[in-house]
Amino acid sequence: MSFLQLRGVEKIFGDHKVIKGVNLDIEKNEFIVFVGPSGCGKSTLLRMIAGLESIDGGSLHVDGRDITHLPSSQRELAMVFQSYALYPHMTVYDNMSFALKLAKVPADEIRRKVEDAADKLNLTPYLKRTPKELSGGQRQRVAIGRAIVRAPKIFLFDEPLSNLDAALRGQTRVEISKLHRALGVTTIYVTHDQVEAMTLADRVVVLRDGMVEQVGAPLELYDKPANQFVAQFIGMPSMNIVKAAQLSQFGALAGQAANRVPADGLIGVRPEGVRVLPVGSAGVPGKVELIEALGADTLIHVDVMGTPMISRQAERTHLHIGDPVSLEFDLNTLHGFDKAGRMVSLA
């Protein structure tokens, strides 16, 4: 039996259901990442697991024990709140040591743990400050620090790195990953950052509008999205989608997919599967709409007779907006969907 079991979990705010029957099994020591559009219910679900929101339907078991109605103080969790929820009148040190102090951990051990965490989070110079004297990112790090000094049964992280710069985010991500491996604590992690989701997760849970769309290993979701929503949600920029009805304009693409995808279905192709060639080359003709040079990559937005396509390439481009181009597609990584958005095998 799995460690954490959610069975038909529901949450109702006022008169709308925000979590609509979530079933989920999480194994001991697993690292689970929740992703989903803003407002889909990630925080709510996390807070329900934490016992901060009542569970209006269904049940929640940890280790076989029904904890649906257990108060959060008895659940042995550590959580990083999306809004931080720091104690405003305590210093950074006190914020981080609070839980340990309550647990009657010896003073020198507390000091060691807190200083250790502060060091990892680059917070050492700020230990004596109160939250209001910190920058946004520093506050967020205190929130993380407050959670990681503890050794709970379950770690809950709600967008913990959103306010950190790329370098620090990478560094902290590595620390969280290390911590997870070292302590082997079951961890649930909410993020909007695809890199975090892909690199940290054992399994990713894609939520949409209070329901689970797909659960799977990161690359599984990327390569075999269960439906159009997941396909478009995972991967940045989003997967290009072409209506089967318009496929006739897409040359080779049409040939590959035509017989498998229903006439009212869709074909998806990832931006890295789209190559922009000089005009006149064999391929589908289009016009450059926008060019975004990201440094390492370049995103080229091309309009193919009304259908927008994005190509991502590693090289810089000399094209300009309005230039006519030809598009070539990588036919091995196409995705097919039926009218309802469900995946259709193209193999």
């Binding site: 934490a50 016992g51 901060l52 108060p71 959060s72 103080s73 659940r75 042995e76 969790l77 550590a78 959580m79 709140f81 809004s83 929820a85 720091l86 104690y87 405003p88 009148h89 305590m90 609070f98 839980a99 309550l102 647990a103 407050r146 503890r150």
Partner: protein, 285 residues
């Protein structure tokens, strides 16, 4: 915001209060060094510090200072401690919460005189009082409150009156406590007491400071309740400084000595305030 506006906004308060303070203060200073008895108003004359001498050497003086401090201390402690407790008790919803809050704050609306009469006659009277009946019901000899525990009786009355005030302020303050912080503390394993001690209490710091300061000011000058109930007695057992001054001013009509006493009270209040500011002051910003 220019520097002008904040000052302009403060000016009316400061100017009026300054006038309100300075004129009586100067007159009081003047009265305190002359002989001035309302029964003999013509016979004034400069007497130097004699009035102060008489006030301070009054055998009731030191006891009254002690009583003032006891009264102040007990009522503040009682109202703040119980006030915080009650505020916590009624803060979260339960059936009839609104009515309970209304009942709790009601005593504050009672006039001091009515309060005193109510307690003296209807509650604490050793023969007819409700408390006497309760005592008798349990087969006990009713307590003669005003005689045997005069100061305590006054403390009870004043606490009854000021508890709702403290309670009201604390309830308001509790409303602005951030729920997420409490949640966070819960997950950190904080018990109810821990939450109270480490989060709620610091959060209420400013309110507590305000309640303490305001109560201090009012309690320092309590005399109506004492006048109506124990008359400062038996002996001087419930005489406080304000009552002593009241006695000088309006029972002995000795304005000179009363003025000296009033100045002394100002000094005492300032000393108390400095102490309190030390204790609670940092909660103010």
């Amino acid at each position: 915001m220019s520097r002008f506006l904040p000052r302009a906004l403060m000016a009316p308060s400061i100017v009026t209060l300054f006038l309100w303070m300075i004129v009586p203060l100067v007159m009081t200073l003047y009265f305190s060094v002359i002989h001035y008895n309302l029964m003999q108003p013509g016979e004034t004359g400069f007497v130097g510090l004699e009035n102060f001498h008489y006030f301070i050497t009054d055998p009731d003086f030191w006891p009254s200072v002690m009583h003032t401090i006891q009264l102040l201390g007990s009522v503040i402690v009682i109202t703040v401690v119980l006030g915080v407790g009650l505020a916590l008790l009624v803060n979260e919803p339960f059936p009839g919460q609104g009515i309970v809050r209304v009942l709790l704050i009601s005593p504050f609306f009672v006039m001091p005189t009515v309060n005193a009469l109510l307690w003296k006659h209807m509650m604490m009277n050793p023969i007819y009082g409700v408390l006497a009946h309760v005592w008798q019901f349990f087969g006990l000899t009713p307590i003669d409150w005003m005689t045997d525990y005069p100061l305590l009786s006054v403390i009870v009355m004043l606490s009854w009156q000021w508890l709702p005030f403290a309670c009201l302020i604390f309830i308001t303050s509790l409303q602005s406590l951030d729920r997420e912080q409490m949640d966070a503390a819960g997950m950190d394993g904080a018990t109810r007491f821990d939450k109270f001690w480490y989060l709620v209490l610091p959060h209420m710091g400013r309110s507590i400071a305000v309640v303490v300061m305001i109560e201090m000011i009012f309690l320092l000058s309590v005399f109506a309740e004492i006048f109506t109930t124990t008359g400062g007695g038996p002996g001087n057992d419930s005489t406080n400084l304000a009552f002593l001054i009241f006695k000088q001013a309006l029972m002995n009509f000795d304005v000179g000595v009363a003025s000296a006493g009033a100045l002394f009270a100002v000094i005492l209040a300032n000393i108390a305030a400095v102490f309190l500011i030390r204790m609670v002051g940092k909660n103010l910003d």
